[in-house]
């Protein structure tokens, strides 16, 4: 440890270390056990603090900020109830590999373990849901823990870290402000060398007649979009992405076959069945995509990932490259040959033509798919879109095409209702010049609805697109299809007046109910850079298609046109 002569408090040091790490914005909520830190933050000119209305909002904002900017997201909470309110967000960030630093206050070290006021063993509680966590017992250890935590959060496969600071550690003095060495093994923060044989890897692709690239969230984390595009174009290979990978490959590219999986496009899922080679780039064979071992039954399977634990975890593969995706693709590229794949490409074209994304837009009601397409056109596809969880999430994934990485923010692994609004707020703070749209449902919206106040307080221009079906729509869809229409506790018998509610927070709002109002609605919603809420009333019966029923695989995909089959 190197030392300087001047002793400062732990709280002061925490602020200075955040500043040195280049952190510009933090999302938090104060309380007794974190007050020494807040007192020091008061003096910081470099760090902007956003006061939220609930700690769950703080961590989802940090996630939205991190995912849309590629930077570290930071959130702050006090001990006990403040800290436990971060649990959902930490789990979410762990599942989706989001780099988050959560800072919590803790009761003083001499009170730890005594069931003191507002004490919770947040260290113990968060062991399974963080990439790393630590309870800091001495102000002298603070610098080392900070450096380790940030490196771990950002390095390798990113993830959330939590540091717990007892009050006396924040108040204690220290001269140790730099970690001279890290205690953790380097592979947790250094960029690993690519392991495996890129040439052999490329040759398996070269001999394939019907190759398919399957791109996941790892592509976003490794900033590998340009490399993926180069690879797809050189190999003449169609590309499908997971829900997490949307935007890593341009959705408008001729080689794009859109999203695969439970609610992916029919042509992507059919391409999986037909391909003779599938190259997984930073995805994890999630069970919503690859239900069984016979995933891509006719294909040689290859996998590139930064996390060795993902290899052969659920689905066995034939070729493995371990390392950062961007580096790995750069090593494969020189060995990749073009080859004539025109037959395969035209096969894909006809799949697209014969099995398009589809919905019935004939009636007078507003169809969410139609509305989303109009929003896509109006924003020229350039908005950052966050979603909550449910039907609206899937419609947004299907009907808003993403061309750029870091523009699609959704809770993929955990499926967290309540994520959308705060994530949009975090994204807007990170991207003040971009249009940020939160697509939500009447159920999800009410989970973190209090963050409307955070929008109002910061005069933030966040656009809220609320699809109201007076139902927990996705639950209803399953009940209709698989539980013989027993709508157990999925209908709202009370919903607030969302327009008035938004207006109570000084957010302009409007409700539309008929198809004829769509244009007016889109105009109103996107007319300027300020915040706005549009409540779109949609039919409760509207469903998300295609769909692979739970527990089934690609073969069992049901398209809109097969709806009749399902009802039997």
């Amino acid at each position: 440890m190197t030392s300087t002569t001047e002793a400062i408090t732990g709280g002061r040091l925490m602020v200075e270390l955040l500043e040195e790490a280049g952190v510009e914005i933090v999302f938090g909520y104060p309380g007794g056990a974190i007050l020494p830190f807040y007192d020091e933050l008061y003096h910081s000119k470099k760090i902007k603090h956003i006061l939220v209305r609930h700690e769950q909002g703080a961590i989802h904002m940090a996630e939205g900020y991190a995912r849309s900017t590629g930077k570290l997201g930071v959130c702050i909470a006090t001990s006990g109830p403040g800290a436990t309110n971060l649990i959902t967000g930490l789990t979410d960030a762990k599942m989706d590999s989001v780099p988050i630093l959560a800072i919590t206050g803790q009761v003083a070290t001499d009170a730890i373990g005594t069931d003191a006021f507002q004490e919770a063993d947040i260290f113990g509680i968060t062991i399974p849901i963080t990439k790393y966590n630590a309870l800091i017992k001495k102000a002298d250890d603070l610098a080392r823990h900070f450096e380790e935590a940030i490196k771990i959060a950002m390095g390798g496969r990113p993830g959330p870290v939590l540091l717990d600071f007892p009050k006396d550690v924040q108040l204690g003095k220290t001269t140790v402000r730099k970690a001279s060495s890290l205690k953790i093994a380097p592979h947790h923060y250094e960029r690993p060398k690519v392991k495996g044989d890129p040439q052999e890897f490329a040759e398996a692709l070269n001999v394939a007649k019907r190759p398919l690239l399957y791109v996941g969230g790892g592509a976003i984390n490794s900033f590998a979009s340009a490399e993926i595009k180069a690879l797809a174009e050189k190999a003449n290979a169609p590309v499908t992405t997971t829900l997490m990978g949307l935007g890593a490959f341009p959705g408008t590219h001729p080689l794009s076959v859109g999203m695969l999986g439970m609610h992916g496009t029919a042509y992507a899922n059919k391409a999986v069945l037909e391909c003779d080679y599938i190259l997984n780039l930073g995805a994890r064979f999630d069970d919503r995509v690859a239900k069984y071992q016979d995933f891509a039954p006719n294909a040689v399977r290859a996998h590139v990932d930064i996390d060795a634990a993902e290899f052969n975890k659920r689905i066995n593969v034939d070729h493995i490259l371990h390392g950062d995706l961007k580096d790995a693709i750069r090593e494969i590229l020189p060995f990749v040959k073009g080859g004539d794949r025109s037959e395969w490409i035209s096969n894909i074209q006809s799949l697209k033509k014969n099995h398009p994304l589809d919905f019935d837009n004939s009636g007078e009601t507003i169809k969410p798919q139609d509305f989303l397409q109009k929003v896509y056109t109006k924003t020229k596809g350039e908005a950052i879109v966050s979603t909550d969880v449910g039907q609206h999430q899937m419609w947004a994934a299907q009907y808003y095409l993403f061309d750029k990485p870091n523009t699609w923010l959704t809770s993929g692994g955990l499926g967290t209702m309540g994520y959308g609004l705060p994530a949009a707020i975090g994204a807007k703070f990170g991207n003040p010049d971009k249009t940020v749209i939160c697509v939500t449902g009447d159920g999800s919206f009410q989970m973190c609805i209090q963050e409307l106040a955070t929008i109002a307080q910061s005069k933030l221009g966040v656009k809220i697109l609320l699809f109201n079906n007076n139902f927990l729509g996705m639950v209803r869809q399953w009940q209709e299809l698989f539980y013989e229409e027993r709508f157990s506790e999925s209908q709202w018998t009370y919903n607030p007046n969302f327009v008035k509610l938004a207006e109570a927070y000084d957010i302009p709002a409007m409700r539309i109910e008929k198809k004829s109002e769509i244009q007016k609605g889109v105009e109103f919603f996107l007319k300027d850079s300020g915040s706005a809420l549009i409540e779109v009333m949609i039919p409760a019966e509207e469903k998300v298609f295609p769909m692979i029923p739970a527990g089934k695989s690609q073969q069992d995909l049901i398209e809109f046109k097969d709806l009749g089959k399902l009802k039997k």
Partner: protein, 162 residues
């Protein structure tokens, strides 16, 4: 199949929970776990015995290596490592079978720690099979209490010598 993993970890609070929590969370069962500090006070060594096929053990190794406090994981092949466990057994004896008990103890290279009129307290170390074996042999006498350390292991330096 049984596997013995030797794991080096940072020696600070919570590391044990991190490691054992990983097993719980992923649904793997630990047969035995033994922990002690190494010559470096900052580093502890853990020996974990688990039952599983190569796939399970491969997963466990990969997942363990993801924990920042885990420095090294070694799968100890039986042929190229020493594996030992210590057991303390207290069991009943009578006047009639005392000499039989002592003969067994001699034969097994057991240390006698305490002898009373009606009991023996012994210490034995060996591989897990030998430990289980001695417990089986002593069982008919009437076991009062048993304490096993769990297995520890270390690799031979010279891999040619078995």
């Amino acid at each position: 199949m049984k596997h013995t993993l030797s794991i080096l970890v940072n020696n600070h609070p919570g590391v044990m929970s991190h490691v054992s929590g990983l097993f719980t969370r992923r649904g793997y069962n630990i047969d035995s776990i033994a922990v002690g500090v190494t010559d470096d006070p900052e580093v502890s060594s853990m020996t974990i015995v688990l039952n599983g096929d190569d796939f399970v053990v491969g997963q466990v190794k990969n997942q363990l290596l993801k924990l920042p406090d885990v420095l090294r994981v070694q799968d100890m092949a039986y042929a190229s490592s020493v594996q030992r466990e210590l057991v303390l057994v207290s069991f009943s004896i009578t006047e009639k079978n005392r000499s039989e008990a002592l003969t067994i103890c001699n034969g097994f290279d057991v240390k006698i720690l305490e002898m009373t009129e009606d009991s023996l307290l012994i210490e034995f170390s060996g591989n897990s099979r030998q430990v289980t074996n001695i417990i089986t042999v002593l069982k008919p006498f009437g076991i009062r209490e048993i304490s096993r350390t769990g297995q520890i292991a270390i690799a031979y330096r010279n891999q040619n010598v078995v």
